[in-house]
């Protein structure tokens, strides 16, 4: 059973993504803020993290940087969804943190493919410490 954590401050998007990515062999957890996501990750490490960038209090980029600083979550695959016009920060995330960046609005099909690909990669290289 694969676990995906989706972080976004927009409830509609959370709900939509839950629908979109739902398959029998996946479990999808959602968090409305980066802080909430950190708590969930501390409890249980997911196989994939999908996060928005612009969120109240703590941005998605801050969340990823915090995860990358921690040995336990250093290799967690991350997909960043950004609605920002300029993607410099996201590019940085891509290069430095190895995160995949997808611009909003995205094609749902593409996201689904990307998620499948990321999960498959994760299975092939079981390197991260559980």
């Amino acid at each position: 059973m694969k676990q995906i954590l989706v972080v976004d401050d927009e409830p509609h998007i959370l709900e939509g993504l839950r629908h979109l990515l739902r398959t029998p062999e996946r479990q999808i957890a959602v968090a409305g803020s980066a802080k909430e996501a950190l708590i969930l990750i501390a409890k249980h490490l997911p196989d994939l993290l999908i996060t928005d960038v612009m969120m109240p209090e703590m941005s998605g980029l801050d969340l990823v940087s915090e995860l990358r600083a921690d040995a336990r979550t250093r290799h967690l695959p991350v997909i960043i969804l950004t609605a920002k016009g300029q993607a410099q920060d996201a590019t940085m995330a891509q290069e430095v943190w190895g995160a995949t960046v997808m611009a909003k609005p995205f094609q749902p099909r593409k996201l689904r493919e990307l998620v499948e690909y990321s999960l498959a990669q994760n299975t092939c290289t079981p390197q991260e410490s559980k």
Partner: protein, 785 residues
Amino acid sequence: MVTGAGRRGQSNEPFMMPKHKNYSAKSDEEQIAKLVTKARLTGTHDRFFGKRQWTRYQLGLRLEVTTGSGKSEDTWAATMHNVSGGGFGFWSKRPLNEYDQIFIREWPETTPTEWLPACVTHCSTGIQGYLIGARFENPCPPGNQWELNTPIAVAERTREVEAKAEALSLSDSSLRVKCAFAVSSIACVSAGAMACVNLFIPHDSPGWWVAMLGVLVCMCALGAVFGSLMFGREARFLSAFRSALVRMVVRGHSHPEIEPAPTRELIALRQALLDLGERWQTREEDERMQRRRLEELSQMKSNILSIVSHDLRTPLTSILLYAEMLKEDLDGLERDDQHHFLEIIAGECNRLSRLVDDLLEVQRLESDRGRWNIRRQDLSGTIRACAQVFEALAASKSIALIVDVPPTLPPTEADADKISQVVSNLLSNAIKYTPVNGIVRISAEARNSNLLLRVTDTGTGIPREKWDQLFDRFSQLGDPNVAQIEGFGLGLYIVKRIVECHGGVAWLDSEVGKGSEFSVSLPIRPHEVLQTRDHTKPPSAGRVLICDPDPELAALLAQTLRWADFDARVCHSGGRLLSLLQNGDIDVVVIEVLLPDMDAQDVLAALNSFTGRKFRVIVHSYADGHSGYSWDDVDMFLQRPVSKENLVQAVREVVQRFRGTSKQIVLVSDGNGHYLELLTQLAQAGHATDQVDSLSVAAERVRRGTVDAVLIAESALAKGWQSFIGLFPNLTKCPNVFVLCESIRKQERCLADQYRVTPLLYRPGLEDGVIVAVTGAGTAVESVP
């Protein structure tokens, strides 16, 4: 760097390089030519000292001078006096000091015997000079013809020194007279001596012959000496004696009473240069400010783009997501889900449309192209209808929406559609930020000649520092990565804009944790139909920042000032005030010092010690003169309550002062003398005057930098100049100190030169001269803290 090749009467081309065939020092010429091309002439004029015409070259501020090696460049200012017929250049190994001067002690042999004085301010040791120009074919050995000196008054001193030298030397005619006198006295003495010899010594004794011989020998020796004085080398001897004497006099070694002091002319020149420098500096500062402003604008633009794109993309993402899911798997979804998805899509579309409307509304309000439908009408129905729309939304969050609007309100001149937009924006904000089970109340009432509309909530509240920013456009501009509020943050900006176009004001009062109250005050009969005003042009009367803890009072003050064409902003706490002042775009601060977050004394101290302070401070306070606070440091103190007209008048006066059309003048007078008329006339000329009775008070004001010019009555200086110097130790650079004298005697002039104050002739009836002098004086007195 400097050349003055203009010959007597040909000073219109002073910077032509002289062309000489027998130019001996080729490399020097090249070097000097390089220097010369960089010099700029800012003005010349001719002047006579005695019989000789002097051409003065005043050189531009920015002279680039190649140093001896020709590698590095120094920049300094120079002013020089140059005798006609030649020119010179020099270079320096280090930047020049302010009072350094340079002069030519002696020309080479082939030049006229007069020494050539040249004075260059901003010079210092380490300078080597080379003569160029008419006599360059015979250059002096380097280091010989130039001499550096301590400050010495050259131009006017020249005559004095020459006169002394003249008196000490012998001119040809006087030499002849003196020789004739000497010869005749020798003859007389010898005749007398012979007579004595005849009388006392017998004719035939050998002693007679011996005595006669002695007398003759003495006579011949004296004759030979005077003869040689008349016809031979004596002239050269005397000339050498004279030039040595001149040298000594000029250097001030043997004549300490000619203690060098800059002439008035030099002071004026120096002042002109300093002014020029100041102007340069101001311009550079302005440019820097402009650049910073542009950078800020550019940053703001990208932030706005980022926010707009985020806020537009978010609903688009949802729409696309759900639409795609419906498209892909319409049959696989339950009927309820299908409905739900379509609802979400419709909701997001509405949200997008609202955002676009907001953007367009702002655009319309800012460009004044909106259609206004101003009518005299009772707004109570409009407000109630608007509130009714929100009942469903409030109910969904279990918020009690209380509508406290009387059945009728006095007819108000307003655009009902716009007012309903104001009410909608306020109510939707209130409901959005009020937690479940809260209370939102809307009330309307007529107060004085205004319609007062209030929306109160029990939401999270807003810290005082943010009150004024909330009404700004894109007010949620903060960290662009952190979304704060749904929407662009345009709602309150639209409210403010609409209300201001009606001639009203909007403000907010809030307490964190308890809730907020947004208020709108609309004039029932607008003072002026403001929407006809051109909003694209910024008000020009001055930029005022109002700091008052009471948001309503602050808003009303700002409104008053805006009507008077000021660009008025408000803030409500000391912390916010100081952070707004950092931007440096404020002319006047109107402040109530009794603030909630800072002690009055601390606020005043912070304002006074503000780095690079460029604003004036008006304290407008309930605190009175007896409350233990000192208002000396502020530009104006207004005891509340103050009428609107007086406030506007006060701000206008202070702004004028700020812009330099008016000067802050302090008159030091011990009460003797008639200065009332002078003060009146200075005030009429638009200056702010103030009379103090002691020098120490004036010195303190100067130290604080709140004074543009100081006038000192002669009688106030009766205790002596020493006290003045003691009090103004840092004023050696200050030209704006004037001493009012009944007559300007030599002593005054000399002392004034020495201490760099300007004596002004003043008697009742001579006010004009004083006003002209004061008006022409530079801006704020320089002082070193």
